[in-house]
C-alpha cells in the first residue's frame, strides 16, 4: 500500500514534484560543478607547483641571496682587439650561480638527517650568458678633393669608415642535478621524450639532458654537443616538461655544474621529501630550527604565491561558488519544504480520513516523508546528471588559466625550481573539472537531506492533523 499510494500521489502531483526536484537538482548540480571545478583548480595548482618542485618533493631548502653590492656580481666579458686583420669569431661565456646564495653539500646531509625527512638531494642552478661574434676593422679613406696634406705636416687627410662589431648574446639556464638520486628534484617533472636520462654512474660524466623546447630552438638532438664555458657535453636525452614549462634549459651532473661555476661542494637548492606528507609543517619547523640561515618553502607556501587568473578562479570557486551553492541549496530545501507542507495542507481531508480509519500518525507521516524522499532522490539524480554534464562541459572546453608565480628570489624564501627564482613567471594551465566519487556521494547525501528536510516540513504538518478535520471539512 505504501509504494502504491506513494507512486500514484507522485504521479498525480507530478508538476509540484518536478518543481521540488528541479530546485534540488539545481542546487545539487551547482555543488557538483563547484566542487569539481575547485578540485580542478587544486589539480592545476598542483601541476604548477609540481613543475617547480618535481614529483615527490614536499619542500625546498634555500638560502636567500643577499643584496648585491657594487658591480662584483655583474658578468664581465673580455675580447681581444686582435691587432692583425683577423675577423675571426670570438666567444666567451660566463657561468653564474642563479638566484640564491649557495649552501654547502654538508647542509644537504644535515637536512637529510633531520627527523621526518625521508630523503634530501641538492641541486645547483646556474645561469649562462654566452656572448659570441666578431669585430670588423674599419677602412681608412682619404678625402676625395685631390688628396692634400695638412697645413702642419705631411699626414694624409681622410677618415676611417665601416668596421664595427656583431655579437650575439645567448642566455640559458643550466641545472646541476644529483644523478645518484634521480627520484627527487626538478628533472622528475619532465618526461624523457628521446634518448635517456642520467645513470647513477655518470656523476662526473660530461653528458647533458636538454629540454625539448630549448632543443628545438637550438636544433639539438640526442648525440649533439653543447659547449658550456669551453667544456663540451654530449646530449644523451631530451626531456619534455609535464607542465610545458621546464625547470632549466640544460641538465648536467651536479659535479660538472659545480666545476663550471667554481662552486665546489655547493648547491643552491635542497629538495626534501618528508616521511609523512601529513607532517610537512613540523618537518619544516625542525629544519628551520636545526639548520640555521635557511629558508624552507613548502608547497603550501608556494601555493600562496600563485596569482593570476588561476588564483582568481580558484578564489571565485572557493568563495563565490561555495556560497552560491549553499544559498541555492538552502533556497531549494526551503522551497521543497514549503511545497511539501502546502501539499499536506491541501490533503487535510485525505489524511484526516486515514487517521479516522485508524492510521497512526506515524504511518501518515511516513507516507509524506516517503513522497518527499522520492522527490529528493529524483532531484538528486537530476542534479547529478546536470552536475556531471556541467563538469564534463568545463573539462571539454578546458579554459586556460594563467598562474603567476610571484618573484621570490630577491627577498628570501622563493621557489624551489631553478630558473624561476629571480622574476615572476607565468604559466598557462588548462582547467579541468574532475568529479570524484566523494562529490557524487556528497550529492546523494544532499538529495537525501533535501528529501528529509522537505519530509520533515510536511511530516510535521501531517502529524499535527486531527482526524476530526476529515469531518469538519464537510460541514
Amino acid at each position: 500500500m505504501f509504494f502504491t499510494y506513494l507512486r500514484r500521489e507522485l504521479r498525480r502531483r507530478r508538476k509540484a514534484a518536478l518543481v521540488v526536484a528541479s530546485g534540488l537538482a539545481l542546487g545539487i548540480a551547482l555543488v557538483i560543478v563547484v566542487n569539481s571545478v575547485s578540485s580542478g583548480m587544486g589539480k592545476a595548482q598542483d601541476k604548477v607547483l609540481q613543475s617547480l618542485y618535481g614529483l615527490g618533493t614536499d619542500m625546498t631548502v634555500t638560502k636567500a641571496a643577499s643584496p648585491t653590492t657594487g658591480t662584483s656580481q655583474r658578468p664581465r666579458f673580455q675580447f681581444d682587439a686582435k691587432d692583425n686583420d683577423s675577423d675571426a669569431e670570438q666567444s666567451t661565456d660566463r657561468v653564474m650561480v642563479q638566484g640564491f646564495q649557495t649552501l654547502s653539500t654538508a647542509t644537504v646531509s644535515k637536512v637529510g638527517k633531520q627527523s621526518g625527512v625521508s630523503d634530501a638531494v641538492g641541486g645547483l642552478s646556474l645561469q649562462v650568458i654566452k656572448v659570441s661574434g666578431q669585430f670588423t676593422r674599419g677602412q681608412f679613406q682619404q678625402n676625395g678633393n685631390g688628396g692634400g696634406f695638412s697645413r702642419g705636416g705631411g699626414q694624409p687627410q681622410g677618415e676611417v669608415k665601416g668596421g664595427g662589431a656583431d655579437f650575439d648574446v645567448n642566455n640559458y639556464s643550466v641545472y646541476g642535478t644529483d644523478v645518484t638520486k634521480p627520484a627527487l628534484g626538478p628533472l622528475t617533472s619532465s618526461k624523457i621524450s628521446s634518448g635517456r636520462t642520467f645513470t647513477t654512474s655518470e656523476a662526473n660524466a660530461k653528458v647533458a639532458v636538454v629540454d625539448s623546447a630549448y632543443a628545438k630552438e637550438k636544433k639539438l638532438k640526442v648525440g649533439s654537443t653543447v659547449t658550456i664555458k669551453g667544456v663540451k657535453f654530449k646530449v644523451v636525452g631530451v626531456a619534455t616538461a609535464d607542465s610545458g614549462d621546464s625547470a632549466a634549459n640544460l641538465y648536467i651532473p651536479l659535479t660538472q655544474a659545480q666545476t663550471l661555476s667554481d662552486s665546489k661542494n655547493k648547491v643552491t637548492t635542497i629538495y626534501v621529501k618528508a616521511t609523512d606528507s601529513q607532517q610537512i609543517d613540523s618537518v619544516k619547523s625542525t629544519i628551520q630550527k636545526n639548520v640555521s640561515g635557511t629558508t624552507v618553502t613548502t608547497s603550501a607556501d608556494l601555493a600562496d604565491t600563485v596569482s593570476g587568473s588561476l588564483s582568481t578562479a580558484s578564489s571565485l570557486a572557493t568563495n563565490v561558488g561555495k556560497w552560491l551553492s549553499i544559498a541555492v541549496l538552502v533556497a531549494a530545501f526551503l522551497v521543497a519544504g514549503l511545497l511539501t507542507s502546502s501539499a499536506v495542507s491541501r490533503r487535510v481531508r485525505e489524511f484526516g480520513t486515514l487517521k479516522a480509519l485508524g492510521w497512526k500518525s506515524g504511518r501518515v507521516t511516513r507516507q509524506v516523508v516517503g513522497e518527499a524522499m522520492v522527490n529528493g532522490l529524483l532531484g538528486g539524480a537530476l542534479g547529478i546528471a546536470l552536475g556531471l554534464a556541467g563538469a564534463y562541459t568545463v573539462t571539454a572546453i578546458s579554459p586556460t588559466l594563467q598562474a603567476q608565480m610571484g618573484g621570490g628570489g630577491g627577498g628570501g624564501g622563493g621557489f624551489g625550481g631553478p630558473g624561476r627564482q629571480a622574476a615572476a613567471k607565468t604559466l598557462d594551465v588548462a582547467l579541468t573539472a574532475p568529479v570524484s566519487l566523494t562529490t557524487v556521494a556528497l550529492a546523494v547525501g544532499l538529495a537525501v537531506a533535501g528529501g528529509l528536510i522537505a519530509g520533515a516540513f510536511g511530516g510535521w504538518r501531517a502529524s499535527r492533523l486531527r482526524p476530526a478535520d476529515a469531518l469538519r471539512r464537510v460541514e
Binding site: Y5, L357, G358, W359, R363, R466, L471, R472, V474
Partner: protein, 227 residues
Amino acid sequence: MYELRSVTKRYTRGKDTVHALDGIDLTIADGDRLVIQGPTGGGKSTLLQMLGGLDRPTSGEVVLDGTDLAKLSEARLTKVRSENIGFVFQSFNLIPTLTAQENVETALVPLGVKVKDRRERAAEALRSVGLGERLGHLPGEMSGGQQQRVAIARALVKQPKVLLADEPTGNLDEGMRDEIMEVLESMWKEHGLTFIMVTHDSAIAKKAPRLATIRKGKITVKENANS
C-alpha cells in the same frame, strides 16, 4: 453500547466561547439505529466526532462498551477506531489516486491484515455493495452513488461494531439517496451494527426508529413507533 454522560464540548474562538455540546446524556444500545438531526452549527457533527473518538469532550464521559474514550491515549483511541468504528462521510472522502479496491483496503491496513487477505476482503466488500465490476476503477471514474458505496464498503470491510455516517446522502440526488439508504439499512440489518447517522433529510429522519435532535448543544431524543 454507548453511554454519554454530561458531555460538554466548548470551542474558543477569539474572545467568544461556543458551547457545541452542552451536557449531553445519551444511551445507545448495541444494534440501535439512531438518526441525529438539527440545524447547521447545532452540534450534531461534534457529537458524531465524540462518538467516533475523533475528538475529546471538554468534560463528561463517552463510554463505549465500558471504556471511556475521553480518557484513552491517542494510540489506544486510534486502535479503537481502527477495530470498532466505521465511518461514512458526506463527501465520500475516498483517496483519489487509489482504486475502489485499494480505497477499501486502507481500512484494513492498520489492522495488519496481509496483502492477499486484504485484497480478497476488499473485493468481497465491494461485491456486497454491488460494485464487483468496479474494483479497479478510480473514484474519479465513478458516479457519486458508486463512490459512496465504495465508502460504505470501506467502513464495513473491517466488520466494525459501530457505523457512523455523517450526511451520507447529502451530496446525492433523490434516486441515489434511496439507493444508498437501502444499502446502509440492509448492511445494518445484516451485520447487526449500531448505526448512527447525521442527516438534514427529513424524509430519512421520519423513517428512523430513534430520532435525536440537537439544538444549541442540547439534545432531545424521540422514539418513532411507526418506523
